[in-house]
Structures are given as structure tokens and as C-alpha cells.
Symmetry: C2
Subunit: 258 residues, 2 copies
DNA sequence: TGGTTTATCCTGTTATGACAAGTTCGGAAG
DNA sequence: CTTCCGAACTTGTCATAACAGGATAAACCA
């Protein structure tokens, strides 16, 4: 059988074309045929080269993008992602999420995207003048339909405009910053405390006013050290029963490939 | 402006149609208009009802499926997923993954899907006769292009055939079992030990032979208590430096919604 | 020379259409 | 009455086509 295509794809195979194409492209990325940060062939080129339609090519590319292997820039092209992502972000999060990845239903909701004047607290963190316009993104994370955390992200207005266009629901915000906006991330500072929920926070987390809430502040910098992204992460107290302890630094860092 | 569509979608809006449709459907699922486990309108019905093409409908539905809100069955229809997922799976995993979700590049590779005779060890776990044909799925998890774990999954041949057709790379295996195959999951048993990597394992994890490797056995049962899915999870020793400690049972279980 | 416009290439969105393949159910044949 | 088969409906895959809109560089104008 096989009915082989001019360029290596089997037409009358039980495995779909976009699937074959995805595996083929993934292999070429992993073996170095397509070098990180370099542009991949355009969608039309891939169409011709493999004798398939653009809808098939896009299906394969979208899957690869969701994996984080490639990223696209509207009007420019499709690029191979850099293998090394942020190096020094002290990790927290993954609190309830670590369970979540097990298969629990996780939903991210964008509660609001607004452009507001920076409060003094935020302005100081982002090293801008108080009162300047910045983007405020509020996202709620639901696990099994119950809200567990509210994330309020502050970034420069310009970056906010670009994040607004990206897919904040299914794609990681850091992936968008690094790949789509081409901003290299550096270290992050963390602070943790507990507060009482005010009315708005209680509403977002669907809990009672004045119940205890864990608050995490995270300030993420670019690799140049400039403050980039300031976040408040509010976790419902009763969802904060998992503890993630990181005993050492990241393993991969001490295991360089010669 | 707005140029409103007959059924609530704004045509000349800057936000894409499939995006509007996705939000609209998500809202209807969350507010109970579409009841869990019930069938949603077919793709063609949604086309007519909202005056859009099927490609737009499918784009919206696929996003919702990736979120886990709905699932599809080829030939039957699209269904609303049950909000409660497995109740009692003692969670482990998320070891290096908890960091991973932070934004590190995570790639799942299907190393092989084969149908083999059950070894005595596996047969005992799955409560079948030794030598019966079962499916063996080997998957490798890469973080930042470096392999950190090898997962070997054993399930009944019939289930393996169905998993083979599903999207094992981007979708969670438990989600597929619960939704697509309509198998309710129950509890799981875990065992952890350390072994030395043999040649094959060393190759998969791209490490040296005879280096220490953490091994986790996990036997997942259906809600009826029947053994369903037996897995070996091999973690590279030097990737096993994060510990996830679960101090109590799941929070949500003690917080019933009246 | 310097700024602007335009042509061109790219990805994003959407429509239409077709066939494949799984599911269900009723009617025909035994 | 049972069995088998096909019609009808579903999602899965894929092609062709068109236009929108961002990016870029060459061509053009001041």
C-alpha cells in the first residue's frame, strides 16, 4: 500500500497527514535541521514541499506551537523556539496545580484587562513613575469549577496591548513574553504573606469576605535585570494545603551537555 | 459599529468569530445551560444557529476540548465533560513537572506503542492471565529538551487501540480514559523505589547505564475497583530533586457546594 | 538625503465543499 | 422474531479560495 507522497508523507495511511507532518517537523527541530530562533519555511512553502494544503500545514504547526517548540509572528513567519527558557525563576506556584496536572479540570479565565494608573506600590516594583498608565490583567484559575487562585498581573501598557492579542487562556504568559515578544526573562523575586479577603477578592475566589488568603508577590525581571512583570497571586486559604518544597537548585544546570 | 450577527456574534469586531463563539459556549457550560454528560448541539446545528462555517465552530470546540470542558466521540457527538474528575488518586507526579508548568518547555514523546504478552508482574497487577496480549505505551517526557522521565503504561489491548487513536501528546491520558472512553476512575496504589538503569532505560533517559533511577509503580483502578492502568514511571535520579509533599487530602472534598 | 508610499510576503480568519469513518436505528430479509 | 444491512447523522480530515492585516524592503517623491 503506502501510496507514498512525493515528499515522504504516506497518503493512504491510517495516520492523518497533519500528524505525519507534525512528527516530521518535530524530528527536524529536535535533530537540529531547523535551528532555534531561525525562521522555518513559510506555510506556503511547506504546502508545496509536501504537497498538502495550507489547512493541513497549519494544523501541524499549531500543535507544535502549543507544545512550545515553535512560535509564530504575524506577518513575519514561523520560528523555532529557543530550547532554554527562563533560567532563574524561583519556582513556586504549582501549589494546587501540581495536583491539577494530574488530570483535574483546570480552567483559566481572564477576568479583566484594564489600563490603569500605577499605584505607588506597583510603580516602585516596576521602576516607573507613580500614576503612569500600565496594564492590569486579572485571571482566575478554576480547578473542578471552583476558583482557587486570582492572578493580577501588572506590565507596561505596551506589553499589555500585545498580551491582549495573544491567547492568554491556553498559552503560558511567560511563553508569550519570551517567544512572541522576544523578551528574555531573568530572575524573579518572591514574597509570601497572608491577608484577609476584601469584597472584590472574595467575589473572585467565590469565598467569604475576611477569610484568610495567601498572597504571593512575584516580580519577574528580564535577563538584563529590568523589572518586567509584577504579579499578585491570591490563593484561597483552603486550597493552599499542598506544599511544594524545592530542595536544591534546578538539576539541569549542573548537567551541561559537552 | 458592531454589525451584529443574527445570533449574538459581532462580525466586524476585532475579536475573531471562533473566539467569541468559544466564550459564549464556555459561559453556557459553566452556567449550566449545557448540562454535564449531555450532548451539545452538533457542529452543523451550531453552524446554522450562529451563522458561521463549520471550520469556525470546530476551532471553538477544539479549544474547549483542550481545556477539558467538553469531549467528542467520533460518530456520536460532542459532550459536556463531568466537572468532578477522579476523586482518590493519590497524587504524586508533578515532581519536576511542577516547575515545568511554570513555563519550562515540556515535550511528551510517544516512544512506542506495542502489543506484547503480559509479564507475570504486570499480569498480577492487572488481574489477567500471564501471557495475555496487552498494550504497552512508552512515553518520554522532555524538559528543556532533556529527558527526565520514561513512562511505561500497560492497559488492556482494547483500551490501547483506542488510546492509540487519541492525542496522547497534548491530552492527558486520564482525561481520555474518563471522557472519551467513558471509564470512571477510582483509587490508585503507589510504590516507589530506586533501581539502576539498564541499557534501554539509559538510552531513553539519555543517561549512563547503571546510574540510579527512581521508579514509581502506579496502579489505577476504575471506580468499581477493577485494575485498569498499570504504569512504571522512571525518573532520572538527578531530576528527582523536587519533592512534592501532600499534607492533607484534597481540599475540595471537604468543601461541598450545598 | 530623508521620509513616504507601495509592492510583496507572511500569518490570521473564514467560507464552501467533499469524502472518510464511526454510531444508531429502522426496515428488509431470513 | 431475529439478523443483517443500509440510510441518516455524527465527527475527522483535507482541498481550494478569498480577504484581512502585520512586517519589510524596494521604489518613489520631496
Amino acid at each position: 500500500m503506502k501510496n507514498s507522497h512525493p515528499n515522504g508523507l504516506a497518503v493512504s495511511s491510517p495516520v492523518p497527514l497533519y500528524n505525519q507532518l507534525r512528527e516530521l517537523l518535530r524530528a527536524r527541530i529536535l535533530d537540529g535541521t531547523y535551528v532555534p530562533t531561525s525562521r522555518m519555511p513559510s506555510e506556503y512553502e511547506l504546502c508545496e514541499r509536501f504537497g498538502v494544503s495550507r489547512i493541513t500545514v497549519r494544523q501541524a504547526l499549531n500543535d507544535l506551537q502549543k507544545e512550545g517548540l515553535i512560535f509564530k509572528i504575524h506577518g513575519k513567519g514561523t520560528f523555532v523556539a529557543k530550547p532554554k527558557v527562563y533560567q532563574n525563576i524561583s519556582s513556586l506556584q504549582g501549589l494546587a496545580e501540581s495536583l491539577a496536572h494530574q488530570g483535574y479540570e483546570v480552567i483559566n479565565q481572564v477576568r479583566s484587562i484594564e489600563y490603569v494608573a500605577a499605584t505607588p506600590e506597583v510603580a516602585v516594583r516596576l521602576a516607573i513613575e507613580s500614576g503612569a498608565v500600565i496594564a492590569e490583567i486579572q485571571r482566575v484559575r478554576l480547578i473542578n469549577r471552583e476558583p482557587v487562585s486570582l492572578e493580577i498581573t501588572y506590565v507596561a501598557e505596551k506589553i499589555g496591548r500585545q498580551l491582549e492579542k495573544a491567547d492568554l487562556i491556553t498559552r503560558d504568559i511567560f511563553l508569550i513574553l519570551e517567544n512572541d515578544l522576544n523578551i528574555a526573562l531573568g530572575h524573579a523575586n518572591l514574597a509570601i504573606d497572608a491577608i484577609l479577603a476584601d469584597r472584590d477578592l472574595a467575589q473572585a475566589l467565590r469565598t467569604e469576605e475576611n477569610t484568610p488568603v495567601m498572597r504571593i508577590e512575584r516580580l519577574t525581571h528580564t535577563d538584563k535585570g529590568a523589572p518586567l512583570d509584577f504579579e499578585y497571586l491570591y490563593y484561597r486559604g483552603d486550597a493552599f494545603q499542598y506544599r511544594l518544597r524545592i530542595d536544591r537548585q534546578r538539576a539541569a544546570q549542573r548537567r551541561e551537555i559537552p
